[in-house]
């Protein structure tokens, strides 16, 4: 099929789909007038039930906790998938980093400038603290393990920007990242199993809720799960970045 024919088929199909799409949108409540019951309900019972004031985190890590386990494993499997797909093929050599092209000079790119290095190093610490704050404040603030994890992974990528790939690699060897990732994913599941052990249902909030509501140490399992999610997300993203960088800097085709 030539591109022109494909484009015409697409345009016809897309026109039909868009008609249905717009029809569906027209059936939605007017903008700003959604009256679904769950939002109101969750707003009113969350603080009482979980002592968490961040309702979005409470929904993610408590009311929809089981869904979030699945979601976390999507991330886990994607990271493992990247590592698997990008493994060194038979006709490629991994030169162990001995002759790795630092700063990408082998690709004809300019070496990293001093400005980039300095800015990256200056930001590494604050970004790490920011990520830690986000990961540990899911229960009170607009944050949580997913966001905090990505920010902490950014700090580790800044080390690569500010320094050398080899330093980045020493900070995050693949087997260590994979173990940490598994610990994060497993920790979440074990919080749920722990609840089962006390006779409650899976992922029930069995820890003391703490008081007052809205304190950082309140909210029982929500804070704990958020922490485990953070660990998993850091490891997953560092693993992915590591594998992608390895493709550019270390692996060379033998031919």
């Amino acid at each position: 099929m030539n591109p022109a024919a494909r484009r015409w088929i697409f345009l016809v199909a897309a026109a039909a789909m868009l008609a249905f799409y717009v029809w569906g949108l027209a059936g939605l409540p007017a903008f700003g007038h959604y009256r679904g019951p769950y939002g109101y309900l969750v707003d009113h019972i969350t603080i009482h039930q979980t002592h968490a004031t961040g309702v979005v985190s409470a929904v993610n890590f408590f009311y929809r906790g089981f869904d979030t386990v699945g979601e976390e494993f999507i991330l886990f499997i994607a990271a493992v998938g990247v590592a698997t797909v990008l493994r060194a093929l038979r006709d490629e050599s991994e030169n162990g980093g001995r002759g790795a092209d630092e700063s990408g000079s082998g690709r004809g790119a300019a070496p990293t400038s001093e400005t980039v290095r300095t800015v990256a190093l200056v930001y590494t610490g604050p970004v790490l603290v920011m990520g830690w704050f986000l990961t540990t404040h899911a229960q009170t603030d607009p944050s949580g393990g997913f966001q905090g994890g990505v920010v902490m992974a950014t700090a580790i990528v800044l080390v690569y920007l500010g320094g050398e790939f080899l330093v980045f690699r020493r900070l995050s060897p693949v087997d260590v990242t994979e173990t940490v990732e598994s610990l994060g994913a497993g920790g979440f599941v074990m919080v749920g199993v722990g609840a089962l052990a006390t006779g409650a249902s899976y992922l029930a909030d069995v820890l003391p809720l703490g008081s007052p509501a809205g304190a950082v140490d309140a909210s029982g399992t929500i804070a704990l799960i958020s922490f485990f999610v953070g660990v998993e997300v850091v490891a997953a993203f560092v693993l992915v970045v590591n594998e992608l960088l390895e493709q550019t800097l270390v692996i060379r085709s033998r031919s």
């Binding site: 591109p3 494909r6 484009r7 697409f10 897309a14 789909m17 868009l18 799409y21 717009v22 949108l25 939605l28 409540p29 903008f31 700003g32 007038h33 959604y34 679904g36 769950y38 939002g39 969750v42 707003d43 603080i47 004031t53 961040g54 309702v55 979005v56 409470a58 929904v59 993610n60 929809r64 869904d67 979030t68 979601e71 999507i74 991330l75 499997i77 994607a78 990271a79 998938g81 990247v82 797909v85 990008l86 093929l89 490629e92 009170t140 603030d141 607009p142 949580g144 997913f146 990505v150 809205g214 997300v233 997953a236 993203f237 992915v240 594998e243 992608l244 493709q247 085709s253």
Partner: protein, 106 residues
């Protein structure tokens, strides 16, 4: 929303570069964030965090916000995996044009 969907779909179908195609998929998926957030918005509502506001304040819907968060995470994971596939496709076939890839397979 409909426009974002249309742009993304058009990009995917007519793409001549795998990375461009993946980015088109991201654009397509972004339309779901807009959909979620516009459904959950309530006029006069504030963010659903009660640390420093009275507990009976009107807020936007927290459930769709949690769903949007899920969406972002899945998108990041899928993008990483697709980019990995793009790298391997380039190594294997020496091209990143999806239309040439299709011809190679025949």
């Amino acid at each position: 929303m409909a426009w974002v969907v249309a742009c993304g779909l058009y990009g995917i179908v007519t793409s001549r570069h795998l990375v461009h195609q993946i980015i088109s998929l991201i654009v397509l998926q972004s339309s779901t964030y807009v959909l979620f957030l516009s459904i959950g918005f309530r006029i006069g509502g504030v963010a659903p965090y009660f640390s420093d506001i009275p507990r009976d304040t009107l807020t936007v819907d927290p459930v769709v916000q949690a769903l949007a968060l899920t969406d972002v995470v899945v998108e990041a994971a899928v993008t990483a995996l697709l980019l990995a596939f793009a790298i391997q496709a380039y190594k294997r076939f020496g091209t990143v044009d999806p239309q040439e890839l299709r011809q190679l397979r025949d």
